[in-house]
């Protein structure tokens, strides 16, 4: 290890930013879980469906009936404990595990920002986020005046990776030169006050939004990290995320990002926030003046640093795995998820399955609504791994019903970013014989077009 790295790792900084981050993260997560519960989505997404789409290798993770609520309860309670900093390490581990379990239960509900939460909470397991302004301080009767600087920087790095990769993903011909999919999405916001009937209908505005979105994602981490531009950058963050919240149904994500970017500010700023909290807590007579103060030393730094290094190597390389697949990424979606490709595509499909007796050649079409919720059907219709998994489910189902020599064929049409719907799956392939793997799926029909770029 070079001396520069060593010096960097020994740099200390005030723990206030990490404490504020911990509180903000915990509160946002608690609100997210409550909102999810309140909207009845636990029921509609995880309890009602007869069948759940699994991630390859995680087929064993399923909703557990009414006990699914318990997982959400664990997740919400641990988020609260994280916020107040009580038994922080156990709480953040419980949060990471329960949240990730929830995300793995059904991939129909995959969202990049859920993945972001999982990844971020994993990183937080290794950070001393309870070193300051936490209940743990009160219990242990000591607080810390300094923590290693790299702990705060690691969160900044992760946020930077997310933004920059999201920006890179926007450097493609559909986004920049066709203003797709914004050209489809924005005109439909015609009922927004003031801008709905004007800007939203203008082609130049669709292009302006596409380009500025790309530039925003690419440069915002640098603007945030530079002291002189920080407030300006934060203003942009607020504007950008509130604007996207107005336009699109993206739930809590914009607020989570706004709170997250506060980490870029200096300790003074966070101390002022904490002073506000202190004033609010005054009626509760919490006395923290008598705590012993000391400098935080990461006892297991030798173990933690390699883990965090590996974590970032993974984060930086994994989104590029699509390069290993020969076909158009947006069309086959091989390597699309877990890569910060956010709001890049308007893709819809219609997929019908035919169950055929290979001996007699007789067959019949399946009514998808007999097996899937409309939300699942919508997701299944344009994603090959969903189509394959569902084909196997149907094959197994009809086999168990006594059908003989079962073959499963799919007739699928998919439309991507304003192109006419076109055949998606080779109708001659018996999907019941095809196995899921990381290999390229040769039964996806060619795209007949090219989207240049990342």
């Amino acid at each position: 290890m070079s001396t520069r790295v060593k010096t960097y790792l020994n740099n200390q900084t005030h723990p206030a930013p990490l404490a504020v981050f911990r509180i903000g993260f915990g509160v946002m997560m608690l609100l997210s879980i409550l909102r999810f519960w309140w909207n009845g989505w636990i029921e509609t997404l995880y309890i009602l469906p007869k069948f759940h789409f699994s991630y390859y290798g995680f087929e064993w993770i399923k909703p557990i009936g009414d006990y699914t609520y318990l997982i959400f309860a664990v997740c919400g309670i641990s988020a609260f404990l994280v916020a107040i900093g009580l038994k922080y390490r156990i709480a953040i581990i419980a949060f990471f595990l329960s949240f990730t379990y929830i995300e793995l239960m059904d991939k129909s509900a995959y969202l990049n920002h859920y993945y972001f939460i999982s990844v971020l909470s994993f990183l937080m397991i290794f950070l001393p986020a309870n070193a300051y302004f936490s209940v743990d301080n009160l219990l242990k009767k000591k607080t810390y005046t300094a923590i290693p600087k790299w702990t705060i920087d690691s969160i900044k790095l992760l946020v930077g990776v997310v933004y920059i990769y999201a920006g890179f993903a926007k450097i493609n011909s559909d986004w920049l030169f066709k203003a797709m999919p914004l050209k489809i999405w924005l005109p439909s916001k015609y009922d927004l006050p003031f801008i709905g009937n004007s800007f939203m209908q203008q082609e130049w505005f669709h292009y302006a939004m596409s380009w500025s979105g790309m530039i925003y994602d690419l440069i915002i981490p640098f603007l945030l990290i530079t002291k002189r531009t920080r407030w300006f950058a934060f203003g942009l963050v607020v504007f950008f995320h509130v604007f996207t919240r107005v336009l699109f149904p993206i739930g809590m994500f914009p607020y989570i990002m706004i709170v997250t970017t506060l980490i870029f500010f200096d300790a003074d700023f966070h101390l002022r926030i904490l002073n506000v909290f202190r004033k609010l807590l005054k009626p509760f007579r919490v006395y923290s003046e008598n705590l012993k103060t000391q400098i935080y030393h990461c006892k297991k730094q030798k173990l933690v640093l390699p883990i965090i290094t590996l974590f970032f190597v993974f984060q930086i390389t994994f989104p590029f795995r699509y390069l290993l697949y020969p076909n158009e990424l947006f069309w086959t979606e091989e390597g699309f998820r877990f890569s910060w490709r956010v709001m890049l595509m308007e893709k819809m499909g219609n997929t019908a399955f035919k169950i055929v007796d290979s001996e007699t050649g007789h067959g019949f079409l399946v009514d998808n609504s007999d097996f899937l919720t409309s939300f699942q059907e919508k997701q299944m219709s344009f994603q090959p791994d969903f189509i394959l998994e569902y084909a196997h489910y149907l094959g197994d189902h009809f086999k168990s019903q006594g059908h003989k020599n079962v073959q499963v064929f799919a007739e699928s049409y998919v439309a991507l970013n304003g192109r006419l719907s076109q055949p998606y799956i080779d109708t001659r392939i018996d999907l019941y014989k095809e196995k899921e793997s990381f290999r390229s799926k040769n039964w996806i029909l060619p795209f007949h077009d090219e989207i240049k770029g990342f």
Partner: protein, 373 residues
């Protein structure tokens, strides 16, 4: 350096957000498409006129059934049959409008056109006088399909059918059942028409936002649902065995009449295409419609507007259907592949409507209730 980038970006953003005019360069429409006009055209020139055509025809049918019940003979039977077909054809123009009162009645069309009928339910009702047409159990024992059975299929020939209403020991039961069916159809229809003409029209026309419950979005969903289920699946797909291991020739519409299944299907397809193009029910003028909306949005695919592609697909499906036997049951028995070819042509349009058109409209669909990203 970073300061410069920030400056450029900031300027770009300010320019992007502040200039209010000089915006026509891209050739994109400066006027907003008036979705309310689309709804007005639908309501005033298509939906209400279609109901006002159907309502009196159904009342005429009711009158001729009353005459038949009063004096059952060959000529009153034929008059009732003639008016049955006239009303059934007019029905094809309103079945898709499952919105407003029609929806509030727990699906008006459930009481009007669920087929095949369950003959045993009708016969039991006739024998015992014990039936409740208001309940879901009797969805498939009333409406046009029940009239089809009672006027065409209750006995092997016309003399036998008239006998069922005269000399048969259960003649009174048949008369009561027939009367109850047509009265119920007429009653529900009057309720739907009254609702449209006394207030609902304004509510329908003014609800043009892009939300899951706006009439515009609901109408688009209902329209596609009808085309996919009521037309494609019920009239052609199910009888030709697309959804079953073997063809089901007895599941055609107007099964007992034996010669109108094609005519009814063509009528329905015309109705669908006219709604798509915004063509007035009474006349040939066209107004704001899905077609003009797609044109406004410049939804060009492979060198032509999506509306042209969809119309071409409707026309292709029509040609395929026109080549079928006027009695689909017969067609299924003699050469079912022609039926499945017609099905495929109809199905391709489902994809154009459900995927391409809905995507272009970017409709907030009612069934997807979760965050996006």
């Amino acid at each position: 350096m970073i300061k410069n980038i920030a400056l450029v970006f900031g300027l770009a953003l300010i320019m992007g957000c502040s200039s209010t005019d000089d915006s026509d360069k891209g050739g994109s429409g400066t006027d907003d498409f008036d979705r309310s006009a689309l709804l007005k055209n639908l309501a005033d020139n298509i939906i209400i006129p279609a109901y006002q055509d159907f309502g009196p025809k159904l009342t005429t049918l009711k009158g001729s059934i009353e005459s038949f019940v009063a004096t059952p003979n060959q000529s009153t039977l034929e008059a009732a049959r003639k008016n049955w077909l006239i009303a059934y054809k007019a029905w094809q123009h309103v079945e898709m409008f499952n919105i407003g009162k029609a929806e509030a009645l727990n699906e008006y069309y459930y009481f009007m056109n669920i087929y095949p009928v369950t003959v045993s339910d009708i016969e039991n009702g006739v024998s015992t006088g014990n039936y409740d047409l208001n309940t879901p159990n009797y969805h498939d024992a009333q409406g046009f399909p029940a009239l089809d059975y009672l006027l065409y299929g209750v006995a092997a020939d016309d003399a036998g059918i008239v006998a069922k209403f005269t000399s048969d020991p259960k003649a009174e039961g048949y008369k009561d059942y027939l009367t109850d069916v047509i009265n119920r159809m007429d009653n529900l229809t009057q309720q739907v028409i009254t609702d449209w003409t006394s207030g609902y029209r304004d509510q329908f026309v003014n609800s043009s936002k892009n939300t899951a419950t706006s009439s515009l979005n609901k109408f688009v969903n209902d329209f596609i649902f009808y085309y996919e289920k009521g037309l494609r699946a019920n009239k052609i797909g199910i009888p030709s065995g697309v959804f079953s291991t073997t063809p089901l020739a007895d599941k055609v519409e107007g099964y007992y009449n034996q010669e109108v299944s094609k005519a009814l299907t063509l009528e329905a397809l015309n109705a669908v295409q006219d709604v798509f193009n915004g063509k007035s029910f009474n006349g040939s003028t066209t107004g704001a419609s899905f077609k003009t909306y797609l044109e406004y949005l410049k939804v060009d695919r492979n060198g032509q507007n999506l509306s042209a592609i969809i119309n071409a697909q409707f026309n292709e499906a029509r040609t395929k259907i026109e080549g079928l036997n006027s009695n689909f049951s017969k067609q299924i028995v003699t050469d079912n592949t022609k039926m499945t070819v017609a099905y495929d042509a109809l199905q391709r349009a489902v994809v154009y409507l459900k995927v391409d058109m809905v995507q272009a409209f970017n409709i907030s669909v009612d069934y997807v209730d979760a965050d996006g990203d």
